[in-house]
């Protein structure tokens, strides 16, 4: 408790120096649903902030995942919203990308209650992702990593003593798992945005993280004929062919796939770091979670430490009546004590690099700490060409991944559809 009080005191000190807020009500529309632990943490933070700043109160609307859409419609209707949050890519493709958010560069450069600037506290790679066209329009406060999550005991039992860092090593390890009588890899057939990470990672490892955006932006579509694509498709197809992904997974509707992990039937799943929390109630006592980086494909141009993330950021909509107060709250929410509370109570990764994460996702923190760069979902495609990303890229991949079309059909289809996409724009 003592450090909270301390930070509160230092905050008051900081505030009295800068602005005095008179009777301010911050209208906050949230990306979380009220019962979620993240919402509970945010609630506690707001209470704490109000206790330290008696003139500031909060008016919260818990909208859940469709928050940005709801905020958009409300803004168009003339509602004033001071603070909102959404996923980072969504914001860069939406509110921030459309220039409807207040730039937060000043906030990044301002003093943090923990000493140094607000920006200093971030994982540098994470803050870099928040930047769009040379300006920061959103500040991430929590995030998930996409990694291969595993049941450490099952890997040990299969004789996998060292976590593989190469594709060949990974495939061998998975084969060992399979031979030990456990399914190697879990897949949810209907969730395209889970499955797409196989191709995202393979392309990033083989051809580098910029390749995908380049392929999408090639108006002839021909970049899709690059050998990197067919190699990536071959590698993922081999996982099915070798029985590392059970054929039955084609019929798994979420959460059927991940439940096989909880039941001890499957050892690994390529998924976001929310998995240990989602399965917390279902796994047995003492379940040992591990997460490994997506392996490096031998001879590839990418970096094994690059990790795809899904972050949640605050943004201040243009025209907010209390933009200043909202930014001050963001500063507080990014402070070490506030971030620690988020990490402890919501079991989610946080933006402040000095904060320890919960045990079940400690491997994720390590990956982030070692990452040279953090990649956004679909390697930036989601932000730049959201409709292409969802309607063409993810949808086509799910077909080839689940064996509805061949690799050639996928490549030809991507060439065609990319061309069509640009012609039709």
């Amino acid at each position: 408790m003592s450090h909270i009080k301390l930070s509160g005191l230092s905050l008051i000190a900081g505030l009295t120096a800068s602005v005095a807020f008179a009777e301010t009500e911050i209208t906050y529309w949230s990306f979380w649903n009220e019962p979620e632990p993240q919402a509970q943490v945010l609630k506690a933070l707001m209470d704490e902030y109000s206790a330290a700043n008696p003139d500031v109160t909060f008016n919260v609307v818990w909208n859940g995942r469709q928050n940005q859409t709801t905020v958009r419609n409300a803004l168009a209707g003339g509602t004033s919203i001071d603070l909102m949050d959404a996923d980072m890519d969504g914001l860069n493709g939406g509110l921030v990308g459309q220039g409807a958010a207040v730039p937060l560069d000043g906030l990044v450069a301002s003093d943090s209650p923990d000493g140094g600037t607000v920006g200093d506290a971030f994982y540098p790679a994470l803050l870099a992702n928040a930047e769009l066209n040379g300006s920061v329009g959103q500040l991430p406060y929590a995030f998930y990593t996409y990694q291969i999550f595993y049941n450490a005991a099952q890997l040990r039992d299969a004789g996998v003593s060292e976590i593989p860092s190469t594709w060949a090593g990974y495939v061998d390890a998975m084969k060992a798992v399979k031979d030990s009588g456990v399914n190697a890899i879990a897949v949810e057939s209907d969730i395209a945005f889970y499955n797409i990470n196989w191709l995202n990672y393979l392309l990033a490892r083989i051809a580098g993280p910029d390749f995908l955006l380049k392929a999408a932006e090639d108006k002839t579509g021909e970049t899709w004929r690059d050998p990197a694509v067919s190699q990536a498709l071959e590698l993922e197809a081999a996982l099915w062919a070798d029985g590392l992904i059970p054929e039955e997974s084609r019929g798994y509707q979420w959460p059927a796939g991940q439940q096989t992990l909880a039941f001890g039937e499957t050892a690994t799943e390529l998924v976001g770091s929310w998995l240990p929390i989602e399965l917390a109630e279902q796994v047995e006592e003492g379940f040992e979670w591990g997460a490994m980086n997506f392996p490096m494909v031998e001879g590839g141009k990418g970096n094994v430490n690059d990790t795809i993330i899904y972050a949640v950021s605050f943004a201040v909509p243009e025209g907010a009546e209390d933009a200043e107060a909202a930014q001050d709250f963001i500063r507080f929410a990014l402070s070490k004590s506030a971030q620690q509370k988020m990490a402890d109570d919501a079991l989610i990764g946080v933006a402040n690099a000095s904060v320890e994460w919960a045990d079940v996702i400690s491997d994720s923190r390590e990956a982030v700490a070692n990452a040279t760069s953090l990649l956004s979902e679909n390697l930036g495609l989601k932000v730049a060409y959201a409709d292409y990303s969802s309607n063409i890229y993810e949808a086509m991949h799910n077909k080839v991944f689940l064996g509805q079309i061949t690799a050639d059909e996928f490549i030809n289809g991507m060439v065609e559809q990319t061309k069509g996409y640009w012609e039709n724009r």
């Binding site: 220039g99 057939s189 019929g251 059927a256």
Partner: protein, 294 residues
Amino acid sequence: MIGKRLIGLFVAPAMIVYLCFFLIPTGFTFYSSLFEWSGFGSEAKFIGLGNYRRLWNDPTFWLSFRNTLALLFVGGFFVFFLAFLYTILINSGIWGKKLFRLVFFLPNVVSVVALSAMWAYIYNPRYGLLNTSLKSLGFEGAGKTLWTSPDNIFWAMLAALVWVFTGFFLILLLAGVDKIPADMYEAADLEGANLWHKFWYITVPMIWDVMTISFVIWIINAVKMFEFPFAFGFLQVPQQLYTLGIYLYIMGFGQRDPIYQLGYATAIGVVMLVLAFSLIVLVRRLMRRDQLEF
């Protein structure tokens, strides 16, 4: 003439309401579909019929359109086939008429999310009710079917949807059947009519109006079908389940992607409106008939 003026006076409020809440919004919808607009503060850009040209060349739109038609016709066929079948059976004088009515109608009062969770359980490849039942009945091969694999998921969803909607239309049809005097059937019994004769020569002609309304309601429901396939997709609706309604939503509001193309979405909405409207006009034309008195 005073009479005419008076009629005008009485009709005026309804006309004004109709104008304000239907015609003007419809017109505005069409107008909006001529713009490119994200919905965020920025200016909407007039692009004429550009959104419609894009739709014409958009494979995902045609996929959604095909799915909607499949839902409308294939789904409609089974919904009404079953609704009529149950109408015949329930009306054949078996016990428990009220119970069956309740059982069949129940899905309509349960939230679609709960329903899709239930169907996910039924369809689960390994633990699912369907496959375990098939296996226990000795159909080992059929019991291994992956009902929700990408090749089957649309039809699996459609089957569940038929199950949901059959009850609703069954209630409508039964309400119509209940209005048919019992002695019509008794007279037919004496004349030697079997269940099919009674259904085809008495029930169908005498609930013709109810059928017309039911078809119209189905068309409206099917063309704007959204909730059930959407909920069936849980975290993310797979493209196999896209309907026009879902594609509209994805393009206008994003699901988990920042696709914010309101003008384009509106154009999809206009297509849905035109589709529903023309089908309704067609059905009403085809089924037009004199009013019955009985």
